[in-house]
């Protein structure tokens, strides 16, 4: 039986796809057979972030509607051989993702994979609901910013009432907070919500903090999951998060500002 993890947020642009790409790559790198599914029908982008956009032949909706087999639609990652991508359809209606259809595909994947990572679209509409419905765990991607925190709280409410686990009265979906685009300098200046602030408001366990970093854009430009940039702070922070997801005890890093020298503090400010 595979563990099903949804990467969700409510708000758009906070780093769901970046996170899905890195978490699935991190799980696969540790030897777990992993598939990452793009649920954003009509606006697929996971393929670009994972550098397989030119290898898409069949997609998720083709499989649901019986026009292709799973094996035809799954794309094997060229860097990590235990990693597969199931792209979203670019042309279909969102409603093509039916509850039964998604369940059929997830059940079939469950037989052979250890982890199924569901990359949710933004919003709380059909696609987002389908992405979270079958989840065992949820990574709630949040930026330290008012609208993102509010939307994350909203999506937590939906996980607690509309997921399959909630409807069936089973153990609740295990929630994780992943704070992304974190800027310790601005936090120290009192200009940005701190990790502690967001934890206090959302009241769910912290999976990790990804510092705001230029490496993220550079990686996505090339279709490289940022976790593979092993030297970078963001890459290492994602690696820590994957470790914690697997139950490892990792100390949090990159949460405090680099100390500046005496002269730069005196004359350059902040």
């Amino acid at each position: 039986m595979a563990r099903i993890i949804v990467v969700t947020s409510g708000k758009g642009g906070v780093g769901k796809t970046t996170t899905s790409a890195s978490i699935s790559t991190g799980l696969a790198k540790r030897g777990h057979k992993t598939v990452v599914i793009d649920f954003d029908v009509g606006l697929r982008n996971l393929d670009l972030i994972m550098n397989c956009e030119r290898r898409v032949v069949y997609d998720f909706v083709n499989v649901i509607q019986g026009e292709a087999s799973l094996n035809q639609a799954l794309i094997r990652d060229k860097r990590v051989d235990t990693l597969y991508i199931l792209p979203a359809s670019q042309t279909r209606e969102k409603e093509a993702l039916t509850k039964d259809g998604v369940e059929k595909v997830i059940n079939e994947l469950s037989d052979t994979f250890d982890y199924i990572v569901c990359d949710s679209p933004a919003g709380i509409e059909h696609g987002a609901l389908m992405a979270l419905y079958y989840a065992d765990e949820a990574v709630v991607v949040t930026n330290p910013e008012v609208s993102s925190v509010r939307d994350s709280d909203r999506i937590l409410g939906i996980l607690q009432s509309k997921s399959r686990r909630a409807e069936m009265g089973q153990d609740p979906v295990k929630e994780h907070l992943l704070l992304t685009r974190y800027n310790p300098q601005r936090v120290e200046k009192g200009e940005m919500l701190s990790v502690a602030d967001v934890e206090e408001i959302l009241a769910i366990p912290l999976l990790g903090v990804i510092p705001e970093s230029q490496v993220v854009l550079n990686a996505s430009n090339q279709g490289l999951p940022v976790i593979l940039e092993g030297e970078s702070d963001a890459g290492q922070a994602y690696d820590d998060a994957v470790g914690r997801l697997l139950g490892e005890d990792r100390e949090h890093r990159f949460m405090t500002a680099q100390k500046k020298g005496f002269f730069s503090r005196m004359f350059k400010g902040g």
Binding site: E145, V149, R150, G157, K189, D197, I201, R265, K268, G269
Partner: protein
Amino acid sequence: MSFLDYFKGKKTHTASVAKERLQIIVAHERGQRDQPDYLPKLQQELLEVIRKYVQISDDMIQVEVDRNDSCSVLELNVTLPER
């Protein structure tokens, strides 16, 4: 904070404003989240019944459900206009 900031004299901690605003709105929205789906319609119909006798505006009626382990309480608050 830099040494020079003491002389500029201006310092706003917008993060604490953000936190305070979020705590209020999130608490409010969580309160509404647990309410049953039929509540808005119930409120509307109650409003219509009351209006047969007393003229009140939309915001003068409040309907809430409080759920405990053993029972639920439907709480209805109506503010009547001053005579």
